[in-house]
Amino acid sequence: MLEALLFLPLGAGCIILLGTKAMCRVLLPLTALGHTALAAWTTYAVGTGAEPRAMNGLLAPDPLGALFLMLASLLFLAASIYAVYYLREEDRLEVHADIHGGPGFTNAPQRRLAACLCFFLSSMTLVTTTPHLGALWVGIEGTTLSSAPLIYFHRHQRSLEATWKYLIICSVGIALAMVGNILLSVAFYTPEGMTAMVEGMDQLGWFVSHARAGEETWLKAAYIFLLVGYGTKMGLAPLHNWLPDAHSQAPSLVSALLSGALLNCALLGILRGHQIMLAAGLGGFSGGLLSFFGLISLVTAAIFIVGQGHYKRMLAYSSVEHMGILALGIGVGGLAVSGAMLHAVCHSLTKCMLFLLSGNILARYHTFSSYDVRGMRWTMPITGALWMAGFLAVAGSPPFGIFISEFIIFKGMLAADSPLLAAAYLLALAVIFVGLSVAVLRMVQGNRPTDMPQTLREPLLSVLPPLVLGLAVLTLGLWIPDWLWNFLRKGAALVGG
């Protein structure tokens, strides 16, 4: 079954690449459905204590991996349903006019977009299910390569610029993560040890169980490289430069996946290193570094969100913020780690919802500027209401799930006796709330624009996926099922929770 999880999107991608446009619109949601079913089965098995393994142990998800796998799969399902609407609309447009007044542009073939989406899912599946750190690296590199053509779907200068930045910054970053992997092996090097290691694929398990034998200096150096390498991909400030560009230029459904699923995968790379450091008794060192980068990300996001006129870039900086919160939660340890796990779930769902909605807004208003979008409650009432709800959710207002997770992380900080950190955290959150609310309220409120057609209906497929995601975040704010909380606790237990 685990093999199917990996190869289903890979195979579907190959078929789509050779197929027709109509075929890709049918196969994409079908692949997503199949993958979600398999991922749910895998997550259930891991949750009930079974240890599914495949390919000689290359695929053997633990609760942490299964959580991120399920998230990636659910988001992909939502994005693929939205993609059916999106691709149909793109087909309908005969001329693509550049929003910034530049020359018109063309799109890449739709089947290439659909195929790369499938390859992207397959890479994320490898990242989340493997305990082999090298395979995890290959998976993350795979996500970069399969998502670069996705960012360059609209072939104009700005998306090309964003794609190039993304490719170079992330590739060099991931190369540094490889140095981290090598140094990790050096830290544990003994001729006998290496022989034992190559017998199985469970490299992570081996490192964790032999962590005390690792040489401290090399372990610390390895973790720094892993953090910088995967941190670049995760968008931790000051390594986040590619993120606002790529997220703002990619088609909205791609931004949704990049922000909601890909950043989690990069976080997983860092968490694997953190697991080893905790087992080696160096949790204070790795946790401290995580908290430091988390706080920097939070402050950077606060600075750039205030006064941000480009609403997709604003969402991208909000991702930098939430990655910072996740890093902080995990760095602090204890109760905050469980909060961080819940935060990862809620953030992914909310950010996917918001990016899909931003696609609807872009399609109707043809502008990236939040100053030029007015009266959404008149022109697109469902999107407007969801955009408002999404803002409340992402800014951490009750009764949405992010409020609960941010509150648990705050409690964790107080329990860990870090009042100054907690104060800085609250201050940054307050600044971000104000920054976000100014832009969002301006877009939703205002008079009915006179120059827009009044009768345009909102297609069901464009609002259904964000609506479902929004309801899920709302539900998580009101009631967290026991089985979910237990599962999150299991994942948190692996990284010091």
């Binding site: 395979a135 670069a148 190039w164 490719l167 490889m178 140095v179 200096t217 870039r313």
Partner: protein, 207 residues
């Protein structure tokens, strides 16, 4: 075998500094190919014949060939405009070399694992690659910089390779190959869209 390995390492170090000093894409591509051949030679001295053949094919022939093809398609910009003076780049490379030697002396290394000179050479190669990525504004030179950095990392991992993980190193090589392939396609698009591969012109996405 030991002498052959040391000679290869010395040549690689020299090659790195020459790369930093060259302003012509043509020479950069030739030096990249030479690096690939040297890496394959080193693998051979460590008795990894299969991997040596793969490295020779991919890093010594396919990747430089791909870069060569991209350069010819662009028909222009045989001379690159570095962000900083070439001498600064070479000096930075020398600084990287000194830093690597200092690090080797400082770090607690395992004598059985790293042959002499391997660790500082690998680190210098990594630094030189990063200097090329940051210091050049031509997209093609940045890709070459990425490749050089990868070569440094590959060299760093070489002593850890054992027969059981050869397949994995092959997967790595393939990954790098695909990465450069994708970057090559992107460069072609950049050349067509901007009529230049000077990434210094990328100024539209800023806060």
């Amino acid at each position: 075998m030991e002498t052959a390995l040391q000679s290869c390492l010395f040549l690689l170090m020299l090659n790195n500094l020459l790369m930093l000093g060259s302003t012509r894409i043509m020479w950069l591509i030739r030096f990249t190919a030479f690096q690939g051949i040297l890496l394959a030679g080193m693998l051979l001295t460590m008795e990894h014949a299969l991997l040596a053949a793969a490295v020779l094919l991919i890093k010594g022939a396919l990747l430089p060939g791909l870069l060569w093809r991209t350069r010819n398609r662009l028909h222009s910009h045989h001379r690159m405009r570095p962000r900083m003076h070439v001498a600064v780049g070479v000096l930075a490379g020398m600084g990287g070399l000194v830093l690597s030697l200092w690090l080797e002396a400082r770090l607690f290394t395992l004598p059985a694992l790293f042959p002499p000179l391997l660790l500082p050479t690998a680190l210098t190669t990594l630094f030189c690659g990063l200097i090329l990525v940051v210091g050049r504004t031509t997209a093609l030179a940045q890709v070459i910089g990425y490749l050089v950095a990868e070569n440094g990392i590959f060299l760093l991992g070489m002593p850890l390779m054992t027969a059981g993980t050869t397949w994995f190193e092959l997967a790595l090589l393939l990954d790098v190959f695909v990465a450069v392939f994708v970057m090559g396609i992107a460069i072609n698009h950049i050349g067509n869209t901007f009529e230049s591969i000077d990434v210094g012109r990328f100024r539209s996405l800023r806060d």
